[in-house]
Symmetry: C2
Subunit: 335 residues, 2 copies
Amino acid sequence: MSGEVNIKRLAQELNISIATVSKALNDSYEISLKTKNRVWDLAKQLNYTPNPAASNLRSNKTKTIAVIIPFVANNFFSRAIKGIEEIARKYGHHVLIYQTHEDIEMEMSFTNSLLNGRVDGILTSVSSSEYNLDYYKNLVKKVPLVFFDRVYKDLDAYNVATDDYEISYDATVHLIECGCKKIAYLYGLENLPAGKARFSGFEDALQDNGLMVDDQLVIKYVEDEEQNLKQISDLLSQHQPDALFSSIEEFVIPAYTACKALKFQIPEDIKIISFSNQATAHLLNPSLTTITQPAFEIGREAATCLFKILNKKGHGDDQDIILKSTLIKRESTGC
Amino acid sequence: MSGEVNIKRLAQELNISIATVSKALNDSYEISLKTKNRVWDLAKQLNYTPNPAASNLRSNKTKTIAVIIPFVANNFFSRAIKGIEEIARKYGHHVLIYQTHEDIEMEMSFTNSLLNGRVDGILTSVSSSEYNLDYYKNLVKKVPLVFFDRVYKDLDAYNVATDDYEISYDATVHLIECGCKKIAYLYGLENLPAGKARFSGFEDALQDNGLMVDDQLVIKYVEDEEQNLKQISDLLSQHQPDALFSSIEEFVIPAYTACKALKFQIPEDIKIISFSNQATAHLLNPSLTTITQPAFEIGREAATCLFKILNKKGHGDDQDIILKSTLIKRESTGC
DNA sequence: CTGTTAGCGCATTCAG
DNA sequence: CTGAATGCGCTAACAG
């Protein structure tokens, strides 16, 4: 059976010791080039690949990292994964992906299942930053961990996130400059720093411009699609806002649908601005001003950060990395 | 350090042998309940979890499966992943995910990196069923493998797919029954059985109803967003079809955009039907008749099939599993 | 019922 | 420069 080609087999065929083969394969300085070449050639010829389990056991490294996220079917996360994969491949690592579906129990369950050395490190984007602070406080001591996007503030850990507050502030100012005075806010991620920061940015921008948040104009995201649609429809018909600030992409379609159903012309009657990582968002409606997060880059940064930790490069500098989002205005539509 | 809690440590603390601990942990019939309880209690107390690398090395099993797909950011695949994860968790397995981005080289590279026992089995959805038949013909002998959705016909392997031909036929008949006579076809996945089957179903349905495929009304998907939009726009303005049959979800937004730009009323001037796994597709436009694949179920089936193989349950019956898609008509809009 | 032993494949001492 | 020996943590014969 040629199926069982291991270091021992190579040693036998070449009439040298196992140790020599091992060293040769790892390009050790102790081995002559001639021997190395013999080993490398045969290895290639026999299609040798090291047994990962054995390496893992010996080295206590798995060449695998885990990514824990709420969903994969999400423009932000899927792009982030792409960035993570790119870096992981660069470092020769494999990527385990776990979807929590925003279920905190599952999040902990997955995480716990990784603590026995199945992975070298974890990239996580949590479902809530409130309910299990203690858990994570403890966890960061046990395993190399980087939070990305959905992070824990005030935790002694590495965070990679975006400038939610600033971009939200800017976006709001933009709406105000477009003449909007009655801006409704579609609130998402309310128990996460990102969600709170987005709202704060909105709030502060209003205040700094002599406006105020009207609670009646704030809607909170719920799981039920129809329910979200209804909430927005009711808001529109009862309060006639002149703009919608959507803090998460999930609100875009119901917002459009509601506007269309109620004959609100976009952007003439109502402006819409949304956090959105969908490249085709503007195709859907050219008047949609979007806040686009650097999802791919966040993935790359987070992974890079993790590998710095793994390689003991200390990472010296600050533990928080903040990347800038982009406000993509649609000038042609007057907003 | 309590970090190093292994079977040896348990044995020492309890003054019994390592073997006994191992058997107790695995609930062997050879061990007395009393001893088992002592072991289990201490294990829980010390938070013992077995070292996966050691188990892997010994048992030649990794409790890990790999999923190789073109993209994760795709409604079909992300749902399929959910199904796969569900089954994997049921069997206590972890899931490695690889995105090929339709790059065949990368597809092979990832696959090759898994052949050294890093995973127990592979679920794959290939990027092409033409260019590397030999590769896969060889591969299926080396590793437990299940193809799903994007499969290789005529290969001695397990396939899990959908009824592309039939549903495409039915959908076309539906359009014809709605009075459409000049149906344009937006062709995707052309080098995959699924894509070909969809087109054949369309073709045959036309023929069986006294119509014919007009090559001028067939557009093929390209990577470039703008290009797709242009293709459709040109088609619409030059040939004025009365329906669009979109064989992949990626065509939906450009199709809508083009129609809107050219003032084609949907569904009055032109009907649109599309393969689409987006739950919110009808929100986007209530007149969109969709062909929905059972993505989640495909994931479940494919994974179940793989575990049957892994558990040597032979799986006896046929190697091809075909699940039915659903044609969701929008009666309210007259089509 | 429990313990002794051997070995999975590899990497790393330490001798030569 | 090369090789013999050891052990990572766990499981599985085989003995007792």
